[in-house]
Amino acid sequence: MDIFTTLYGNLALGFGEALTLSNMWYCLLGVFLGCMVGVLPGLGSLIAISLLLPITFHIPTSGALMMLAGVYFGSDYGGGTSSILLGVPGHAAAAVDVLDGYPMTQQGRGGIALFMKCVASFFGATVGILLLALLAPALASVALKFGPGEYAALLLLGLIASATVGQGSPLKGIAVMLVGILIGTIGLDISSGLPRFTFGISELEDGVNLAVLALGLFAITELVKSCGQGRKKVAEQKFGLRDQLPTREDWRRSVGPMLRGSGLGATFGALPGTSGGLATFLAYSIEKRISRNPERFGKGAIEGIAAPEACNNAGIGGAFIPTLTLGIPGDPIMALLLGAMMMQGIVPGPQVVTEYPDLFWGLIASFWIGNVLLVILNIPLIGLWVRILAIPYSLLFPAIVMFTCIGAYSVHNNVFDVLVLSICGLIGYLMLQLRFEAIPLLLGFILGPSLEENFTRSMTIYRGDFTTYFERPITASILLVTLALVVWTFWMASRKPSRPQEA
């Protein structure tokens, strides 16, 4: 019982700190701006932050931190909205929402998908924050057990799982995932600092930008595909608020995925080396694998929204642990949170939790408040977003072309990224023609550099002896799971009927 008394005390302290009118206002401002900017393709948290940054230096620390946390959740959330409604991911991690959310929209269930996304992300955030409050110190020490070898094994598992999750052949999935890793090697090599596959173009030294690649593969490809089909066959959408509510059947299907997704997200969130969607895609692939009828996935299965969305938000709380206790930011927003703290003379480190309990727990409480505000703000907005679909596609798609171009431009304020966008779009369309799926390529691209980096480093540390992988308990068990997954996938694929009846 003691642990719960402590938990209660801590959370009470946190909410006491966070629930002031001015803090709520800053949090709402962050959430709102994050949401609005996040919906625009390619524009993510960075733009929202650059707008809010000047303010953070003028308001109290707790308010600034809450506002930034609000932006974090808001932009992350907003990115999924355009994935579901238009098949155009607002940012790379939201690409997973395209898989089943967009088909749901095409079936006239876009509002329901948005609603379930809202519920799942709130649920995931709540679970994640509770786990964080209970286990914060323990999570930090788990993260330290993960060295280069462990990360490499885990990344391999995630890649194989996501490459074989699509509807096509697992062999092609793995091949295209490897091509994604190859694209990821473009740029400066981490160990030597030398450029690779840049062909003398200095803009390529930082590699192909993730947001630009995702926009090219998904947004441009989707635009070309939809225009080619002539007048879109999107089902009639209903626009009443009641029509956006999931059915009893939807709820029944979503509870399990939300629980599993949250657990997975909270666990992976604490491992700083796995950020960037690994857990989210893993959550999706687990749901598909344990489902009794996996063929529904990719065609509008609501589980495909619920699990990754819960997983994503459960992980954000966990991601904060290494930032705070080790002083190590995982991404730009975390870096800013850290910066705002350092401006106040708070040195991050394991002692932060004990030395500044009001700040720490206040921040955790504000995460939850941010999510509450997100729900309050977004439920009424669902009806508004769905109305976008009432606009005829012939009017909508030139706007999407423009938004996508501006999004790509905004990444570095550079037209080079727009050129890359067009190339990625062409590649995406050719891949569609050759029946390659875009998700494994994207995942290979996201996780590949990290895999190469950790694998290379682990071989240095293991003195070139690969068998060390099988001598360490964590690496050995992860590799065993990976192997089992490969065998199982190909065995299942070989049992599939050669030509299922299709409508």
Binding site: G168, A175, V179, L182, S191, C227, A399, I406, N413, S498
Partner: protein, 153 residues
């Protein structure tokens, strides 16, 4: 028995080409290093080899079995592909030279050509509305560093 699927063979051949290119380019230009201290060429070289290997497998398998992939790709449409890619390239070429507002007008017209049944009046109205909207969102509200319009001279 049906004839082997051409698209699978094309995919396999594409993969072989990509893999061989990566492997050869990496081998020729970058240091390979040893397993303990891998050079910049090590990973791309072996990745390229594996991709080419899988490509071979994918190209050959259709000859060995009559099994088919289950996803039907959409038919190939050159018109929207060209219109949209040209629109994106025009954006890249024009936006810093003539400004965001005129670029929006041009890009809207070109991308509208992607669909059959191009309607001049409708597109013109769309272009103007869109230009105004984009000016408000990106330049006024989001404060992006792009010129609204660059006057010649």
């Amino acid at each position: 028995m049906k004839s082997p699927d051409m698209r699978d063979i094309a995919s396999g051949v594409t993969l072989i080409a990509i893999g061989l290119f990566a492997a050869i380019y990496a081998y020729a230009n970058y240091r390979m290093g040893t397993v303990t201290r891998m050079g910049p060429g090590f990973v791309p070289f072996w990745l390229g080899c594996i991709v080419a290997g899988l490509g071979t497998l994918i190209a050959v398998l259709p000859f060995l079995s009559a099994r088919r992939d289950t996803i039907e790709p959409p038919p190939f449409h050159p018109r929207p592909l060209i219109a949209i890619l040209v629109a994106v390239l025009l954006f890249a070429g024009l936006v810093t030279r003539i400004g965001l507002v005129p670029t929006t007008l041009i890009v809207t017209f070109v991308s509208a050509l992607a669909e059959r049944g191009f309607d001049l009046k409708r597109t013109a109205m769309l272009a103007v509305t869109l230009a105004a909207l984009i000016w408000v969102i990106f330049l006024l509200l989001l404060d992006m560093r792009l010129p609204a319009i660059v006057l010649p001279g």
